[in-house]
Amino acid sequence: MFGKPMFRTTLKAFAVLGALVAATPTPARAAGEVIHIPDTRFSFEGVFGTYDRASAQRGFQVYKEVCASCHSMRLMSYRNLVDLGLTEQQVAAIASQVQVQDGPNDEGQMFERAGRPSDRFRSPFPNMQAARAANNGAAPPDLSVIAKARAGGADYLYALLTGYSDPPAGVTLAEGMSYNAYFPGHQIAMARPLNPDQVEFADGTPATMENMARDVATFLQWAAEPELEERRSMGVKVILFLTILAGLAYAVKRKVWADAH
């Protein structure tokens, strides 16, 4: 009978692993071409990784000053920025810089008022059609959960933002398109969004393209998964607890079965 349990365990592991491996998300494919997304080191990687708050705040600044002129983040509220390390006053000040539509008032009119922390991020366009019309027919996607909505996540965002170049020989771009090494199909409607020294960081970080791309990727990852830190720290505790419980349960099982063999 020796060897049988081993065989069975192997089979079981094989079945589970097979299912998991086969289900692994495949890399982005465009016209049959597999684009390799380079791995970028981020502070939030790994079991104990956390968001680099300073980087994410700079990323918000980049979003606000660059991306927000075209991209909405309609699931985000200004109050969420408190979780990014900003004070209530700072958040209120940021919110009050925008005008949001409210109403109807007692006369039945819609009106504009200064934003409050509970308001959603103001969208640059009133609706999808307006966004499309203003951008040569390619509506800029909402960025609220973009890090979850793209294979490769923050790595992809960083690669995309730094992946602009002149088209290689033999590639002709359609009207209004730019060449990007990491965009599926390589022709992207968004012109190169980041240029060195486009923003000025208050903490003195040089606004190189790499820094800005990393910061904004960190910010967008945080926006997509604000629960990440809480989730992982809870996970560590839960798994520690379950490991001890597994040991106890196994001991009980052995004691119970001791007289049955």
Binding site: M1, K4, P5, R8, K12, A15, V16, G18, A19, L20, V21, A22, A23, T24, P25, T26, R29, A30, G32, V47, L75, N80, P141, D142, S144, V145, K148, A149, R150, A151, G153, P184, A224, P226, E227, R231, R232, M234, G235, V236, V238, I239, L242, T243, L245, A246, A249, Y250, V252, K253, V256, W257, A260, H261
Partner: protein, 423 residues
């Protein structure tokens, strides 16, 4: 019994009072306490209990998620993200529910695999097996409709593609499709009815699971040797032996579950489902959830629309007649050297289909899918029926206790000739 009360063995006065009038405690004691269970279960026999727990987890998290979810095309996506961001522990409830579906399929696939390997579908357990296949079909329907609810791109296009499968049927096809949609395309009426049915079906599953367990407790469990218990020495009371063993397995299952939920919650999902549904743009590479990939591969392996749909449904419906396709008197593959290899190859074919279903419909995956599909069906329709007649099984042990406890399982020569007596 003279007074019309049940003759209860319980001493606790409250328990006894209830038990005399409604003998639920006696029933529990009989079915889960002293219930005689083969003593030689391996850990594959944990997965029935695990599936039961998984179903309860899905129902509990589902009910709580429904308190926050809005089944409307304009609000469904945002309401799910609101659960993730604003509802207290909403992310936990949603990730447990979403990954719970994957865990459920992993557990149930292993449970089914165990049934096939150890011949648990054979007489007298045919109805038990059939009820299990019914549960699996209900699970698939429930999972499919649940995946539509977040109203992302994969939700929408998955719903579109799967409902369009029914249009392959001649005459009634389009009528069925519009019946499913409640409109001219997958739209708000579809979302509403899918939500309603997604809430209903789990309770239907609970009902069929109850019948599954009733049938199990009539025939008793199969076991790794595939021979029936012959004497009390062959069995152990369910409690504490299998309650203890199941509890340990349950904790291990929770650990795997926790790793998924807390550290890789979107690993088994598709990024496109975080893009809100857009009826004007199909994602370049649409795939169903991983647990449907084998059937999706079968569908795409056939170049004919109706043929593909029929083969896809047939790949599960064939399970219903499995007890009559496999006529071998020996249950466990341990004693069937040829069938065992054929079945392990079938397992490989299934995993190959699962892999191919996730790849784009191009070479070499189409050819590989076709070979695997052919073997998938050949195993059930040709190999098993033939082996039932031709295969020469290994000698069976005389009894479970003899095989497990002593004598090394060596069997007197005479006993080997008559496999699987009806105990």
């Amino acid at each position: 019994m003279a007074s019309g009360l049940h003759d209860s063995d319980f001493k606790n006065p409250v328990v006894r009072w209830i038990d005399q009038r409604m003998p639920v405690f006696t029933m529990m004691q009989k079915e889960y306490g002293s219930f005689p269970t083969p003593r030689n279960f391996n850990y594959f026999w944990n997965f029935g209990a695990l599936a039961m727990v998984n179903l309860m987890i899905m129902i509990a998290t589902g009910i709580w998620l429904a308190m926050h979810y809005t089944p409307h095309t304009s609000m469904a996506f945002d309401s799910v993200e609101r659960i993730m961001r604003d509802v207290n522990f909403g992310w936990l409830l949603r990730y447990v529910h979403a990954n719970g579906a994957s865990m459920f399929f992993i557990v149930v696939y292993i449970h089914i695999w165990r049934g096939m390997y150890y011949g648990s579908y054979k007489a007298p357990r045919e109805l038990l097996w059939i009820l299990g296949v019914v549960i699996f079909l209900l699970m698939m329907a429930t999972a499919f409709m649940g995946y539509v609810l977040p109203w992302g791109q994969m939700s929408f296009w998955g719903a579109t593609v799967i409902t369009n499968l029914f249009s392959a049927f001649p005459v009634v096809g389009n009528w069925i499709v519009s019946l499913l949609w409640g409109g001219f395309s997958v739209d708000n009426p579809t979302l509403n009815r899918f939500f309603s049915l997604h809430y209903l079906l789990p309770f239907v599953i609970v009902g069929v699971v109850f019948l599954h367990v009733v049938a199990l407790h009539i025939t008793g469990s199969n076991n790794p040797l595939g021979i029936e218990p012959k004497s009390p020495k062959d069995t152990l009371p369910f409690h504490p032996y299998y309650t203890a063993k199941d509890s340990f397995g349950l904790v291990i299952y929770f650990i795997v579950f926790a790793v998924l939920v807390f550290f890789a919650p979107n690993y088994l999902g598709h990024p496109d489902n975080y893009i809100p549904a857009d009826p004007l743009v199909t994602p370049p590479h649409i795939v169903p959830e991983w647990y449907f990939l084998p059937y999706y591969a079968i569908l795409r392996a056939v170049p004919n629309k109706l043929g593909g749909v029929l083969l896809m449904f047939g790949s599960i419906l064939v399970w219903f007649i499995l007890p009559w396709l496999d006529r071998s008197p020996v249950r466990s593959m341990r004693f069937r050297p040829v069938a065992r290899i054929a079945f392990l190859l079938w397992t490989v074919a299934f995993l190959v289909l699962l892999y191919c279903g996730g790849q784009p419909p191009e070479e070499p995956f189409v050819t590989i899918s076709r070979v695997a599909t052919a073997y998938y069906f050949a195993y059930f329709l040709v190999i098993l029926p033939l082996l039932g007649r031709l295969e020469r099984p290994l000698p069976l042990p005389e009894s479970i206790s003899r095989a497990v406890l002593g004598g090394g399982g060596q069997v007197p020569a005479g006993a080997a000739a008559k496999p699987m007596e009806k105990a």
